[in-house]
């Protein structure tokens, strides 16, 4: 376990390092000129002479590797650069945005876990009955519906037609419901199926058959035997949904004008504000990689059956 942990941590660092390289490389090959962006953001009209001087100052004439090294050094010190469009340092822009996106993602995750578990179990218990068919129908719709369309429909129904919600104030508690639902519904569709299948598989296991033979009631079997085993499934589910949740926030925040990281990334793209975009990408990768790391370790710790060979679970 200790060896495995160490190996995974080293792997994590290598991947993070390569990810920063890729992120920096992408902005390096981008068609716009950081010196010009910098000058315009300070309301200075960029003359050719001034541009040359600024490029020199910003180290834009250095070879690529040197520029990357310097950038990485600043990054490790927590210096994320200066946002041209917000006109303040990226480190000052980020916290509030991170807070808003985390709130949204956690709310969506809560809805996701509760509904996919509830519906998944119900569907498995009622296998081949009406409830099962209805739930499977909904889950299919959930998988195929584009989240951006879903979000617009929800706004149309609940905001435009029946003024149940207002979405103009993202800081009000109620306004998190629609965006979180938009984020969660497509994922619920996906995981209801998986949980249903996992529980049906448990149903045919010897220990359940044995428990039933001993005369234990069906309800107790589910609560005491099947659910604890399904817990592992939930943790894996959280890990699996991270990428979709993080990626989904861009579209959902855009639809609901939610002032989180996703909207920030789109603003950064519009204004060609690359330091801001770099910070966004690196933060996302970091969160994603860490959550997957934690999930792997937890799966390993909780399930003695998972055998680790060659540093990878389940291979």
């Amino acid at each position: 376990m200790k060896y495995y942990l160490l190996k995974r941590i080293v792997q994590l660092m290598v991947v993070m390092l390569l990810a920063t390289f890729l992120t920096f490389g992408l902005t390096y090959i981008s068609p716009s000129d950081p010196a010009e962006m910098m000058l315009t953001s300070r309301d200075v009209i960029p003359t050719e002479e001034l541009l040359e001087k600024t490029r020199e100052e910003m180290g834009l004439k250095d070879p690529f590797i040197l520029q990357y090294g310097n950038w990485l050094k600043r990054l490790l010190r927590g210096d994320l650069g200066y946002s041209y469009s917000k006109r303040e340092s990226v480190a000052e822009v980020l916290p509030q945005r991170i807070f808003m996106t985390t709130r949204l993602a956690l709310a969506a995750l809560l809805i996701l876990v509760v509904f996919s578990l509830g519906l998944g179990i119900l569907s498995a218990i009622q296998k081949s009955k009406l409830a099962d068919y209805i739930i499977r129908g909904f889950s299919f719709v959930g998988i195929s519906i584009p989240s951006f369309w879903l979000g617009l429909i929800l706004i149309y129904i609940f905001v435009v037609k029946n003024r149940w919600f207002r979405i103009t104030d993202p800081y009000a508690h109620k306004s998190i419901i629609l965006p979180a639902m938009t984020l969660a519904i497509p994922l619920i569709g996906r995981y209801v199926r998986q949980i249903r299948a996992a529980i049906l598989e448990q149903y045919s296991q010897d220990y359940v058959v044995g428990a039933r033979a001993r005369g234990i009631r069906e309800g107790e079997i589910i609560i005491h035997h099947i659910l604890p085993n399904a817990l592992l499934g939930i943790i894996t589910l959280i890990g699996l949904s991270t990428a979709a949740l993080l990626g989904g926030t861009v579209i959902v925040e855009n639809i609901f004008t939610w002032p989180g990281l996703g909207s920030m990334a789109l603003e950064a793209i519009t204004y060609r504000d690359y330091p801001l975009l770099q910070a966004y990408v690196i933060f996302m990768v970091w969160i994603y990689v860490s959550i997957n790391f934690i999930v792997d370790i937890m799966t390993q710790a909780l399930d003695p059956r998972v055998v680790i060979r060659g540093g990878r679970i389940g291979e």
């Binding site: 981008s30 195929s144 951006f148 369309w149 990428a243 994603y288």
Partner: protein, 272 residues
């Protein structure tokens, strides 16, 4: 047994529905009543009528015709991208699986790095930095998606590389190239095709999503995602701008998702 037969029959049915859809996209011009780019300022934001079956948009373009032409763009980009990532992933995965050792490790580290980016975030970052448009969208999505096929190919190749019939073929004097084209590729093809079928819907959603954010296909080229993007400003007065393009994406993605699921049941005997 009859269950399997029924599944096969259903697979043929859904396959022909999907085929019809693709055909419809190809012959769209024959069905479209209007030019999808033609504006009609006398009929701006008008609801569905006999002249405009799905209504008109903010510059009086025919929504129905735009959706038909949009099918070409959406489906065309989806299949082009799938072909790209399939070829790229297959080639890279084959090299990794066949050679092993340091080359394999290097290729796997690269795929790990790409996979360490949440896919949508990575695609948005690439298009965002290189600039919006069809070409960069295709580039970004292929950079993000090829890893899936490379990994799958590699695992499949490694699984059969040491089987007896491969050894026998080697013994019979088959060279590396012949080994790949005659013995390995035909055996892994069905799993790869199932994966492709499963990915059609997801790829369509990815393209439409980028276009919705204003990063993918640019107006005035009709595409379902960018039609929704343009239409959302008129939600209160002209909801048909949202209803029809969204319904189009939903229906087509749903059909291809059913196709993917049935393809897996029918073609991949290992999957239960």
């Amino acid at each position: 047994m009859s269950n399997r037969k029924r599944k096969k029959a259903f697979f043929s049915f859904i396959l022909s529905v999907a085929g019809l859809l693709i055909l419809l996209a190809i012959v769209a011009p024959a069905f479209a009543p209007k030019d999808p780019l033609a504006t009609d300022f006398a009929h701006v934001l008008k609801g569905p009528s006999s002249k405009y079956p799905f209504g008109t948009d903010q510059v009086g373009r025919c929504i129905y015709s735009r959706i038909l032409y949009g099918a070409r763009v959406s489906l065309g980009m989806t299949f082009l991208l799938l072909m790209l990532i399939f070829t790229l992933g297959l080639a890279i995965g084959m090299v990794a699986g066949m050679s092993g050792g340091i080359i394999d490790t290097m290729i796997m580290r690269i795929t790990d790095t790409v996979l360490s980016f949440p896919d949508t975030v990575f695609a948005i970052a690439i298009v965002g930095i290189l600039g919006p448009g069809i070409r960069n969208t295709i580039f970004a999505l292929s950079v993000v998606w090829w890893t899936k096929y490379a990994r799958l190919t590699r695992v499949l190749v490694m699984g059969i590389k040491n089987s007896e019939y491969i050894h026998a073929a080697k013994m019979a004097g088959a060279g590396k190239l012949k080994l790949i084209t005659h013995y390995i590729f035909p055996n892994i093809l069905s799993s790869l095709i199932v994966q492709l079928a499963l990915d059609i819907g997801g790829m369509m959603l990815a393209i439409a999503g980028l276009s919705f954010l204003g990063l993918g296909v640019q107006s005035p080229t009709p595409e379902w995602g960018n039609m929704l993007n343009e239409g959302r400003a008129y939600m209160q007065t002209a909801p048909w701008l949202l209803i029809y393009p969204g319904l189009a994406i939903f229906t087509v993605v749903a059909i291809f998702n059913v196709l993917g699921d049935t393809a897996r049941d029918v073609l991949d005997p290992k999957h239960v």
